[in-house]
């Protein structure tokens, strides 16, 4: 059956819903693009994009947020992959509890999280009943604040990262592959890095992309912890300018699509490899 005859077999109402859905997503995007191109009166041009990219703060905040996103992704992988792996391997009964915990960021808003972090880490953390300082006030210096921000972002991104990793692990026979590797002499570290991670790379990449999107656009944590991140920058820009935020929004859409395309490109054959047992 060729493509056109296959298309003809799709019912009328399916087409209607498909077109409505597509318009729902594309119209705002088109409106944003159209608006961003009209910075100069009666001229369609890229002036808004030029101005946005010329701004020194844009480059600085965008680079900084990217670094925070990378740190969050790396730390999330280090924390979540072994956790999800161990639950699947040895503690399946703990799965429901961990799933519930990973959903908490949907229930507890970011504002609560950031005030909790500030409340605890703006003063020294002492060893109980002693004068020994375990952790100095993290909010008092830049590196400490960065640690708090990354930790906060890890919490916010946890539902997405955990679910991506867990779904990825569901597609491979984790237990048998682990036992096969163990019988060949592999250590836990070797098993995770050379067997598990490569076989869930598609899931990791989608988790990483979602984490990236959350971190780069996040405002609450960054604002209250007083860091110069891209989220607060966009927020301020939106309050004072009209065309540049539209231009940057459109650019971020394009960047997201490029990232998704890259994921498809990198993980193209993985569905087949993991499916063959």
């Amino acid at each position: 059956m060729n493509f056109s005859s296959r298309l003809r077999r799709i019912p009328f109402w399916s087409w209607v819903w498909f077109i409505l859905g597509t318009l729902y997503f594309l119209l705002p995007l088109y409106a944003t693009l159209d608006f961003s191109l009209q910075m100069e009166r009666d001229v369609i041009g890229l002036k808004a994009y030029e101005k946005a990219f010329e701004d020194k703060d844009f480059i600085e905040t965008f680079t900084y947020s990217n670094l925070l996103a990378i740190a969050t992704i790396v730390m999330s992988i280090i924390l979540i992959v072994p956790t999800a792996y161990w639950i699947r391997l040895r503690l399946p009964e703990a799965r429901r509890i961990v799933e519930f915990l990973t959903l908490m960021p949907f229930v507890v808003p970011a504002i609560i999280l950031v005030f909790g972090l500030i409340r605890i880490y703006s003063s020294s953390v002492m060893i109980p009943f002693t004068d020994i300082v375990l952790i100095p006030p993290l909010t008092n210096y830049k590196f400490g604040t960065n640690i708090l921000v990354v930790a906060g972002y890890m919490v916010l991104a946890m539902p997405y990262m955990y679910r991506s990793v867990d779904t990825g692990m569901r597609t491979v026979d984790v237990l048998t592959l682990t036992e096969a590797a163990q019988s060949l002499g592999a250590s836990w570290f070797t098993i995770i890095t050379r067997i598990i991670l490569p076989n869930i790379r598609a899931a990791l990449l989608s988790g990483a992309l979602l984490t990236f999107a959350i971190v780069v656009g996040e405002v609450t944590l960054a604002s209250f912890l007083g860091i110069d991140a891209f989220g607060p920058y966009l927020f301020l820009l939106g309050q004072h300018r009209a065309y540049e935020p539209a231009a940057l929004s459109f650019v971020s859409f394009i960047l997201t699509w490029i990232a998704m395309g890259l994921i498809q490109l990198v993980t193209g054959g993985q569905g087949q490899t993991t499916g063959a047992h």
Binding site: A180, Q182, S183, L184, G185, I195, N199, T273, G275, H277
Partner: protein
């Protein structure tokens, strides 16, 4: 001292005893099969040898060294799984070389050993393919090569042929046996398929509900089953309630029809209730050649099974199956006709009720 010694091994999960006081000595180069129905503890025993389960009590010694509590990656044991368990992200060569890389062997050694193993399983043309590009049989051969590349002290095979179709199963089991013999490697093979176990093993351990029922060569297990379970589980079998008539002479009675058994009655008393068992292929028509037991029978049914014709006969009130080799000139009796059926004294196995 045995090469692999499993002594008084018991495994409990909670209150459930899965393996109960298992004792077995395996010599170097021996091929031993664990045979039994699902849940009999055969895989758990294998997994204890592999190190994936720790025995609740007992010891496992390999070449004189206690490996009972050693981690799986510290025992030099190769394992083959039913689901192949090839690493999907690696090619055939990379899969085979994985264990050698983990051991940090030199690249030259890895290449030489991988080439040797790929040759051993005749997959030279597929060395750079990924597992999903191979058939089930090919994947299992890669799994075998991967396990052998490390030169393990013991090769453990956990139902490796179950996921394959019948023809591949037969050819691959012959291949596994040939490779095992050529390398002289000690192997434990877990299966619930009696034909597989009978055809491939030096010795068979028949297991049931966590206990060893019988250990012996395939010939012993098939021809001289010691328990009713073994007799029933291995091969087809006619069983019937019987009563000892004359213990000294080996006479037993089935519904008033007298059979003579070569052994099994000497330690019993007259009137003892027993079971007798006769393999279908040990029964034949008395018109061909009379043996020690000759009894009257009625032909109940005839079933054509390809190489074998199965004839159901009624002796007294009990139905027995009788197997005879098919040939194009075979003259079969009519259903309902009366015939005489015969078998030797040795064919009549007397079992506890």
């Amino acid at each position: 001292m045995a090469y692999l010694s499993i002594s008084n091994v018991t495994k409990q999960f909670g209150d459930t005893v899965v393996v109960d006081n298992f004792n077995l000595d395996i010599e170097k180069g021996e091929f031993v099969s664990f045979l039994g129905p699902s849940g009999c503890g055969k895989t758990t025993t294998l997994r204890m040898v592999a190190g994936f389960e720790i025995p609740t009590s007992g010891k496992i010694l390999l070449d004189g060294k206690d490996i009972t509590d050693k981690a799986p990656n510290q025992r030099n044991v190769g394992m083959i799984f039913q689901s192949y368990a090839l690493f999907p992200n690696m090619t055939v060569s990379q899969n085979i070389g994985f264990g050698l890389r983990v051991r940090k062997e030199s690249e030259a050694t890895i290449k030489q050993r991988v080439d040797e193993m790929v040759g051993l399983i005749n997959l030279e043309k597929h060395a750079n393919k990924y597992p999903y590009q191979l058939s089930g049989g090919q994947q299992q051969r890669v799994s075998l090569a991967r396990a052998l590349a490390n030169r393990p002290q013991v090769l453990l095979l956990d139902e490796p042929l179950s996921a394959l179709d019948a023809k591949i199963r037969v050819s691959l089991r012959a291949e596994i046996r040939a490779i095992q013999k050529s390398l002289g490697i000690t192997a434990i093979f877990v299966t619930h398929d009696q034909e597989e176990a009978l055809s491939i093993s030096d010795r068979i351990v028949v297991m049931n509900v966590g206990e060893m029922e019988q250990v012996g060569t395939p010939f012993e297990i098939y021809n001289f089953p010691k328990t009713r379970f073994v007799a029933n589980f291995v091969g087809s079998l006619n069983t019937s309630d019987a009563e000892v008539v004359d213990p000294a002479k080996g006479f037993v009675s089935v519904d008033g029809v007298k059979f003579t058994a070569a052994e099994g009655t000497e330690n019993r008393k007259k009137g003892d209730k027993v079971k007798i068992a006769i393999r279908p292929e040990r029964l034949s028509f008395a018109s061909e050649h009379k043996k020690a037991n000759v009894v009257d029978a009625t032909i109940e049914n005839i079933t054509f099974l390809g190489s074998v014709v199965r004839i159901q006969v009624k002796i007294g009130n009990t139905k027995f199956n009788m197997d005879t080799f098919n040939n194009p000139f075979l003259e079969l009796p009519r259903v309902g006709s009366k015939e005489q059926v015969t078998c030797s004294k040795e064919a009549v196995l007397v079992l506890d009720e």
